[in-house]
Amino acid sequence: MTLFWVCAAFAVAGAIGTVTARRPLRAAMSLLVHIIALAGLYLGLHAELLAALQLLVYAGAIVVLFVFVIMLIGPATWVPSSTGGLSLRAMSVAVIGMVASTIAVALGRYEAFFGKSPAHYGTVEGLGGALYREAWVPFELVSITLLVAIVGAVAVARGRTPEEAARARQLRHERAAANAALGDAAGSGGNS
């Protein structure tokens, strides 16, 4: 019970720090606090393998990726805080209202306490066995998705080589010329 309240406090503090931080690097560090607190929550829920995966994937890969990009881009990651339009503020108020009603329903209705869990629940053996026995098709599909994401990330972030840039420029000129010719033809056709 103490574990829940401590981890919940750190998770909420980390989330608020992530959203309100002026500097993206501080936001990334707050995200790290949030993720570690969530791993603690998973431990309290007997999801040991998920807690380990959370630390490995989020803290080890995603936060490091964010920090890499922040370091790569440098001072341009500083974005002046927006004043925000009226619609944005209205949507934020709506979100807060939804959250408040969800909390009220969750605390009022769900007096559902946890019973004892089986021996292999959430361990590497239990979750791994369930994953490979019952969910092996989505597991393979996720591996393909990750492969496609890697190729896509490289393709998007790589930029153009000089030859490709020259070819794109030439194509753009050709297209502009063709459009101009088309516009002339249409204009004369309309006049006659």
Partner: protein
Amino acid sequence: MSIGVGEYLALASVLFGTGAVGFLVRRNLLIQLMSIELMLNAVNVVWVAFNRFYPERHDGQIMAFFVVAIAAAEAAVGLAIVISLYRLRKTVETDKADALRH
């Protein structure tokens, strides 16, 4: 006071709301991506908490596992797009990303 599903649901809704407000209010593309991660994590808390309530099967934890994997793919592609946008516009402000406007 004992901890049940209700407390985890309340916590997850607070985390999801924080992420949603951050995504709506902030103009920094990097922080918006982090807000998306916050929302995905909040959903994961709900999956794992409900699975703890029905511990005979692992379905909720399996879903949380897949959410983590998809979040990793999303972060990789999203950050590649951030770098691409920075190369084009020298900024990561989303208001400046209007190349497809009109």
